[in-house]
Symmetry: C2
Subunit: 412 residues, 2 copies
């Protein structure tokens, strides 16, 4: 019975541990494999070895995406994620989705199952965007969202060029881009947030990705002596920044979940105890799964900023750092994730992703959804990132049975 | 008629310009002569030459204060200020008070006037505190507020030791400390704030110095992903900092002038657009001329901080960076400054000083007040610091006639 089929958690944990040794951050469980560095190359080589050992056909395209497909014909049911990490990364973010994909394939091979549609697993270049902006670069190029030539010219935080680094580490492949559309795509990932853990739910059936609006605000006022300048005569950009951070909080609470608003960066100049600041530069990160509400939050924030700065006698310049509309995953695929979870006896919750993922790029070209597993304390991008073996096993089993169900779908 | 006596503004401007050449900041009108550096030594040597040229008796004490006194007997009517500057200083802050004192003495010498009490002019070591903390160090030691031995052991931001630097530049003198109390003390200084300019008043008759309360606050929360962490699950120290900066503004407005409150420094960590901060470190600068109200502002701020941090699930540590009680100058001396201004036809306003000055140390040992002249745009500690020649002349004339009136006082 296919429903009894289960992945081998020890094998999955073993591969996670072996990959985490590459770029390991001493004294922690975490690792650092920034995209297209020597550490990334070593991680890629290891995963490609595992792909080859399973008898998969490995292709490498011009942006360095690596996709391993079971032999056969036709668009595969694809899974995958990324193996690059942030500078202080954990061992699960991205890696889980890739290695669980390998585990799914090894599991059906061992069980002698040949699904109606073949499976594929890929890892996509520079998902984190920590070295080269934008993030999700490889999957973006795969689905035709950016021309390859443009992507190859991108320079990173260390001055390195994507195209040169791909050549240097031997991952400038020749598979065509944009890549062929899979039959469907499903990605397993850690939640990177606290919701599943707090609600004591094992599986997130991810029905979309929040839209993201990042704005950098520079407020210019008048630097003054903090002792000799009466309150009524101030033009204090630090006050404007604080008032906006306060307003962002109020706005998010008023709009309600899933709206979030974060002022994570504030830089005052000259940033001294006894000087009214001359300038304040800060960022606001607004997210919602609903585009109309996201736009409302942007507009109301902009109005408050203008009004407050004007009343304070300050001038304002804003710059959009990032703007992505919300992504809605295919409801039929989300249903399959939910059913697979329930059938396996796991608690499950439909939820949006607050972070960006490669799956959102594939949603442009094929039916797509994601599977989330809990993150202890909601921590990620941190060596302390952790998901229990039981939850990893649950997530990989849901991935397995979701892919089997997708392979058996009558319609495409 | 003594009332017709006037200082020579061209001579004063000439000395201001000549002193400003030492440590000049290229391309600006400003200068950098941090305390006890080679530039400070060169400035000191120049001013001592001018003191000697006027036939004054020059004494140097163990902390490097230099006082030039007219020959004769008895406690002098003293004026003075400082010639050290901040790293990006202007040419008026401090220097004006010293060179106007020389100008007053040269003026009465030229007029053949021998006042009933002799005059003295001094410059006091490390008033700015930019290299060695605390500020107003020289005048503090002069009035017995800190033992000389303790002051000589102070190490600076560059690791230099006060005592070693004094020996090195040849200003470790032998005049006794604490120094002899003058008959009275009056200091001319630029306002360093915008009040006189905005109210179109020429002279400030300074009746006291605001009390100062500086606190550094460190708020520790929980760093989280800005996209995946719902608002209700956050422990955001950045929000606590913003709320406190907002509250400080409201509190100062509610308490009314002369209360001021400034959050001039905010440091979030990791300070990234898409990360709820782990920690926020910020400062609050509270000032008032009334000690009871200053204490009320401290207490209410502390209560708000505790309440807000607690509601956010954050912990707080505070550290007092500085705490000075308000200083009240001698009303009789303030009256003399006011009368001298009116007699000369200048508009005048009693006002507190928002910044600290050497005069506040002398207020501990003798009748003291200050004279303020306008600062264009309220700017100081900046090469763009500027006071018009007319206002400089007015200030020096008020200093002259205040000192003459003090010299003729029947009582001490």
């Amino acid at each position: 019975m296919e429903h009894d089929l289960s992945i081998n958690i020890d094998r999955l944990l073993g591969r996670l541990a072996e990959l985490a040794e590459i770029g390991a951050i001493e004294g922690t469980e975490g690792c650092a494999r920034l995209a297209l560095t020597d550490e990334d190359k070593a991680g890629r080589d290891l995963v490609v070895t595992w792909m080859t050992d399973l008898g998969l056909e490995v292709s490498v395209d011009g942006i360095g995406n690596v996709i391993a497909t079971m032999p056969g014909e036709g668009p595969p049911v694809m899974t995958g994620s990324h193996i690059d990490t942030v500078r202080t990364g954990g061992r699960y973010d991205g890696n889980l989705g890739v290695l669980a994909g390998l585990e799914v394939i090894e599991t059906i091979q061992a069980a002698g199952i040949t699904p109606a549609r073949r499976f594929a697993v890929g890892f996509f270049t520079d998902e984190e965007g920590s070295r080269f902006a934008p993030d999700m670069l490889g999957s973006l190029v795969y689905v035709g969202g950016m021309p390859l030539e443009e992507a190859l010219d991108i320079s990173g935080i260390d001055g390195a060029i994507v195209g040169e680094e791909l050549e240097r580490i031997g991952y400038a492949g020749s598979a065509p881009l944009p890549g062929p559309s899979p039959h469907s795509f499903v990605e397993l990932h850690i939640e990177q947030g606290p919701v599943l853990e707090i609600e004591d739910v094992t599986i997130g059936a991810v029905d979309g990705v929040q839209g993201i609006s990042w704005t950098e605000v520079e407020v210019v006022g008048q630097s003054n002596h903090a002792g000799t300048t009466p309150m009524g005569l101030r033009k204090d950009p630090g006050f404007v920044a604080a008032a906006c951070a306060n307003f962002a909080r109020e706005l998010a609470l008023e709009l309600g979940d899933p709206q979030v608003a974060t002022v994570g960066r504030i830089d005052l100049h000259p940033n001294l105890v006894n000087v009214v600041a001359a300038t304040a530069t800060f960022t606001v990160d607004l997210r919602n799964t609903d585009e109309a509400t996201l736009q409302e939050s942007e507009q109301r924030f902009a109005e408050f900023l203008e009004k407050t700065a004007s009343a304070e006698g300050c001038t304002v310049e804003t710059r959009t750092l990032a703007r992505f509309e919300p992504v809605i995953f295919d409801p039929a695929v989300v249903d399959i994730v939910e059913s697979a979870s329930s059938n396996l006896g796991y608690s499950v919750k439909r939820m949006p992703s607050g972070a960006g993922h490669d799956a959102q790029m594939f949603a442009r070209v094929c039916p797509t959804a994601m599977v989330f597993t809990p993150s202890v304390n909601g921590i990620s991008h941190n060596p302390a990132e952790y998901t229990s073996p039981e939850d990893l096993e649950a997530g990989a089993n849901v991935l397995l049975h979701t892919m089997l169900a997708l392979a058996n779908l009558e319609t495409t």
